[in-house]
Amino acid sequence: MSLLEFARGPAFQAAVAILVFGVFWRLLGVLTLRWGQRQTEPRASAAAGGVRTVFSRFWPRRGLSRNVRTGRFLGYLSHIGLALVVFGGVYHIETIHGVLGVAWPALPGSLISVAAVIALGAFLGLLGRRLMHPTVRFLSTWEDYFSWAVAVLPLVTGLLAGAGLGLDYATLLAIHILSAELLLIWLPFGKLFHGISFVPSRAFTGANYGRRGVKI
């Protein structure tokens, strides 16, 4: 079995299995903890508050955006760029189709390359911020850097494979696929899980404040 066959076969199946099992394990482990009691008479709808906050937190509140613009901008750029690459690349759509049976039109390859470069640049900016901003550096742990590397590796290897730089294409492609599989495996365990947990996290706060009549 070649490295590419390994990456496309057993490694991919194992990565997807770990991703699915890990996400469920972590979500269930958290959401099956005790739920708080609510006896007070609500002033407004908790559910509406919860839904509202899931969406309202996509942008910083007016009056609080002064010193977070760079972080938010780089965050947006990296996430949107990554999403375009993952869900717009023709090979990625084919892979998703193979697993889930759903597909959609792909974006042009040149646009995907641009998106990947922009995302990579934004990720480098985020790393720079983490290393240089005193507060962010103070908060950072090994896991922040590891998760950054795991998120960036598929972008780098994908760009190298697309450009045919360094090794032969089959090896580059295998490395790219393996790096993406590392991301899938790590997602349920590290901070990349925020891509899932941001929904209940925002909803809990929105509901809690919403019932008090506070739009948060």
Binding site: R34, G63, V214, I216
Partner: protein, 452 residues
């Protein structure tokens, strides 16, 4: 009301008592391991699905620091709000999280030394104002979890001695600052005699139970007098009760759930006993979430409405029942965090000010994003003035930016902090109470002298 000391004069008298508080704290001797175990148990007990989700979601972006007044005035990363949760996060990962079996292999349990170090972060440099909660892109309610950290430090016997002293007083005496039932009766007698007003006390049945505070009784009887004047003017069927008058709940401030529950239960029982349909809370911000939004503190919905004085006054104005004399000043309103951001009361106090013809000039950060007074969450009791004074300075600069002649607020604790700031910074701008202003602007009749 000129016969009573001004708020600033009373505050100076109180300052001496506050300085002696640490000596009054009961000893909390116990082995270090017991402290750590007690704190861990409290954390685990509080870690529910909501907090678990929050602790799984932080991306260490540091944005919360930008919202925190203590970080803003020092620039010290240790004051980053989410950092204040590190001990809670570690305990969650080791004891409650889905990968606890793994984390236990690679991490250490929290220690008494760490808890002692964390006292500064959870008490001295956090007022649980909730501003950080507004900015977190993950929507994490950081302030709610600092509450848990405080509770665990408190359970370990490591809460600041000033706070333990007051907490112990409330646990045994039900009230604080020596505001005993006898003192309440004495103050009411004094007010009735000097101001010529009737203040109903210990009526067996009333539509409204009014809670006052140790601060008003011992330091600022003007607040109680103003509340009485407005309620009498409105013809409210109200009473104070000597068996349940204290609105301050130090259990909520220190985050001792048992004391919080005990004090809340006593107030609820008194309100039920007299058949009250409304429980009115005087100007003391934390009392509102301590009773109105006290999730988990009582087991069933309350058979009466809990309403805060600024909310009540605003609603009376909005309903056309409370008309005030207009003199048209330029004022700025400081929203107490616990009634504004945490409680949802913003428009009502402004309605009262507008009813007096005042022009409300907002601070650069106001309403939801208003900065804390600097000494909320019991912080004004702590002997940490150097840190707090930096926040005071920032608040005063915000007031300066409005160009308003007067600062108005609806919380005795906020007012206490501003009065301190005013003295320190030699500011001339008056710091007024909303209810006292409303009482001073009642129509020129004698309706305020007798209850309805």
């Amino acid at each position: 009301m000129s016969e009573f000391p001004t708020f600033e004069q009373a505050m100076q008298q109180m300052q001496g008592m506050l300085e002696k508080l640490p000596e009054m704290a009961p000893p909390m001797q116990m082995p270090p391991q017991q402290r750590a175990d007690r704190a861990t148990a409290v954390m685990v007990q509080n870690l529910d699905a909501r907090f678990g989700t929050y602790l799984e979601s932080c991306i260490h972006c540091g944005h919360c620091a930008e919202a925190c007044h203590f970080f803003q005035v020092t620039g010290d990363p240790k004051y980053t709000p989410v950092h204040k949760l590190d001990l809670l996060r570690r305990t969650y990962r080791r004891e409650s999280g889905p990968f606890r079996w793994l984390y236990r292999l690679f991490s250490q349990p929290i220690t008494a030394e760490e808890l002692a170090d964390w006292k500064e972060l959870a008490f001295d440099s956090c007022t649980m104002c909730g501003r950080c909660t507004l900015i977190c892109p993950m929507g994490i309610d950081i302030a709610a979890m600092v509450h848990v950290v405080r509770e665990s430090i408190s359970a370990a016997g490591l809460a600041p001695p000033e706070i333990r002293a007051v907490e112990a007083e409330q646990a045994t005496q039900d009230t604080v600052f020596g505001a005993s039932p006898e003192k309440l009766k004495e103050v009411i007698g004094m007010l009735e005699q000097q101001a010529g007003i009737e203040i109903p006390l210990d009526r067996e049945q009333a539509e409204m139970l009014v809670l006052t505070s140790g601060l008003d009784i011992m330091m600022n009887p003007r607040g109680l007098l103003a509340t009485a004047k407005v309620l009498n003017h409105l013809g409210a069927d109200w009473t104070l009760r000597s068996d349940g008058y204290e609105s301050i709940n130090f259990g909520a401030q220190v985050c001792d759930k048992e004391i919080h529950k005990d004090i809340a239960r006593r107030r609820i029982d008194t309100a039920k006993k007299i058949g009250a349909k409304t429980l009115l809370l005087c100007e003391c911000g934390h009392t509102y979430p301590a009773l109105r939004w006290a999730e988990g503190i009582y087991q069933e919905p309350l058979p009466f409405e809990v309403i805060y004085i600024s909310d009540y006054l605003g609603k009376q104005v909005q309903a056309g029942r409370l008309k005030l004399r207009r003199d048209g000043r330029s004022v700025t309103f400081h929203d107490p965090c616990k009634t504004g951001r945490v409680g949802g009361i913003f428009d009502q106090p402004r309605a009262v000010l507008e009813a007096m013809g005042d022009e409300v000039c907002e601070t650069p950060d106001h309403k939801m994003t208003n900065f804390c007074c600097g000494g909320g969450g019991g912080g004004f009791l702590l002997n940490n003035l150097p840190l707090r004074s930096k926040v005071y300075q920032m608040k005063m600069q915000q007031f300066d930016a409005t160009g308003a002649d007067t600062v108005v607020t609806a919380c005795g604790s906020c007012r206490l902090n501003f009065a301190t700031a005013k003295m320190m910074l030699e500011s001339e701008r008056p710091i007024e109470s909303l209810v006292e202003l409303a009482a001073d602007h009642l129509p020129d009749d004698e309706g305020w002298r007798r209850p309805g």
